[in-house]
Symmetry: C2
Subunit: 327 residues, 2 copies
């Protein structure tokens, strides 16, 4: 019954060592959204299980098939908020990549790095269509993993000169400052969240996701012409501040509606103007003038992961990274 086939295993270290650049990831994720926007991606709803005692524990299956990118597979990703107090990662999991022609698995790889990187990439792609092209000042509210990858990805597409970093944990803000310096971006650590928002061309909220928003950001903080990427869903903005939105977008209307109706997120948020696939394919307009306040509430999709995973697999093979295992 053996297949006479082998599967490539890539640990998190292997995935990092494959050395995919953020610019490549941004390009791949955008290509994924072109396919999605043209109706050429198969991406069923992502079902989940919720084991253990933590009420917010989840493990989600995220399958997608992108024929044009010769990609088919699933990400099986868990989020356990209680892990961090045990010194374990909040996000963990594996991604299985299949040969689309035979269905047979060709790779199993850690998915935490991909999840972090592709989420930043999706923000950058939204910014490409929704932020002013000359945007150079960015405010990052919450400086964890997502704060880092969002900064890195947006820096690929925009001439960033300054980041204003806010975090309730000073050590986290310092880490982002170090990271920003390595990208040749001036970093100002701010202790007032308003200072991270006002005067920024782009704002990223990348804190934890809450069902009841902490709603820190108030009306009037965000300047005209600013773009905000809400990586933490609607947790950071007061409803009154969201009323200032001139354009409200997401990466997937179906998924957004599900989170809203079943999950209880995005209550009293603006009506959706466009989804990301419509922006990248030109089916709907992005920013229309220099004054608009534009928003992206991207949820993270299997298409993001499956656009990136084949590149990691190929690069790992080229660099002879990973462990070949019998099926």
């Amino acid at each position: 019954m053996t297949l006479g086939k082998k599967v490539l295993y890539l640990s998190q270290t292997d995935v990092v060592n494959a050395g995919l650049k953020m610019a490549e990831i941004v390009a791949a994720v955008e290509q994924g959204f072109v396919e999605l926007g043209n109706g050429r991606v198969e991406m069923p709803p992502k079902p989940g299980i919720h084991p253990g005692e933590g009420r917010d524990n989840f493990i989600h299956a995220m399958p997608a098939s992108i024929p044009a990118m010769k990609s088919a597979g699933v990400k099986w990703v868990s989020g356990y908020p209680g892990n961090q107090t045990k010194g374990l990662p909040y996000i963990s999991g594996l991604l299985i990549l299949n040969d689309p022609q035979t269905g047979i698995p060709i790779a199993v790889m850690d998915c935490a790095w991909i999840t972090a990187m592709r989420t930043g990439a999706a923000s950058a792609i939204s910014a490409k269509y929704l932020a002013r092209p000359e945007s150079s000042t960015i405010g990052i509210l919450a400086c964890g993993v997502q704060g880092h990858t969002n900064l890195e990805a947006i820096n690929v597409l925009f001439p960033l000169k300054k980041v204003k970093a806010f975090d309730t944990n000073a050590a986290q803000a310092s880490k982002l400052a170090e990271f920003g310096k390595n990208l040749d971006i001036e970093v100002e650590i701010v202790t007032d969240p308003k200072r991270a928002v006002t005067g920024s061309d782009i704002v990223v909220t990348s804190g934890p996701i809450f069902k009841v928003p902490h709603a820190t950001i108030q009306p009037g903080w965000m300047d005209k012409g600013t773009f905000a990427s809400l990586v933490d869903f609607d947790s950071y903005f007061s409803r009154e501040a969201l009323k200032e939105a001139d354009k409200w977008t997401t990466d997937h209307i179906g998924q957004y509606t599900y989170y809203k109706e079943v999950g209880g997120y995005f209550r009293n948020c603006p009506e959706i103007d466009a989804e990301l696939g419509e922006l990248v394919t030109g089916k709907k307009k992005g920013r229309e003038n220099r004054e608009q306040k534009t928003f992206a509430a991207n949820l993270g999709l299997a298409v993001d992961d499956m656009a990136v995973a084949p590149l990691i697999y190929q690069r790992a093979i080229e660099k002879k990274i990973g462990t070949w295992l019998p099926l």
Copy 2:
């Protein structure tokens, strides 16, 4: 970002060498159905993708959490009918097992062997509640992998003395004959499908699944008091023969309804009397007299897989089988 944790990889050979006995698998799957029947299993619908050119290609994500069995994970299983002409397996895939307390993956294992074995086990459990206890003659129609595992599993719970093996491919029937002899069961290879049905206490139809049933089995072939397990859904039975059913069961009503309404299977089949979880928990009656013709149309559920996978993981650790990999 490394986790400092390891994950155990088990190839198909490793899984086989773990040496789990069919009797253990039958017991584990029944325990899974006790949990399911008592509403203590989380098992969302299984979404799928359909890559490649073959119109019946699928890759399904099958997640389940069974807290009482400390089991959480997903099976990612593909079925590519065209593979067999390439010398590749129809069914392939991997199963990821997670630590329910942290969500972190603890094992990745081949899923083809588990799929074959647990499907046989589910038939045996249905038979336990629906066949006459002294059933000793079994008819197997289509003698591939499922013919073998169904015979093996039913032999665990019933005093089988004789199997009547039918297959359009004589070599397949001979293989099953050899297998039966090893189980100390007399084997008669029959070339007329009616001979496999009439005079059998238990009938298993384990051929390929077709949307339009080939409907080989005619009314009057099945004796009173016989139990039939339809591993190939409703492919083998004519609608008229199904009208003889006194009890029609499945392993999951929700999944059955989905296959019927969305998939187009089970047209003009009898109304469902019970699902397997209701039978094993005594919430509904199984066989009620010696005359009834009883049926199980089990679909294969994630709970089957997740009931078995932790046992393989434990046995592999005890036997020091498999490859430990960094996460």
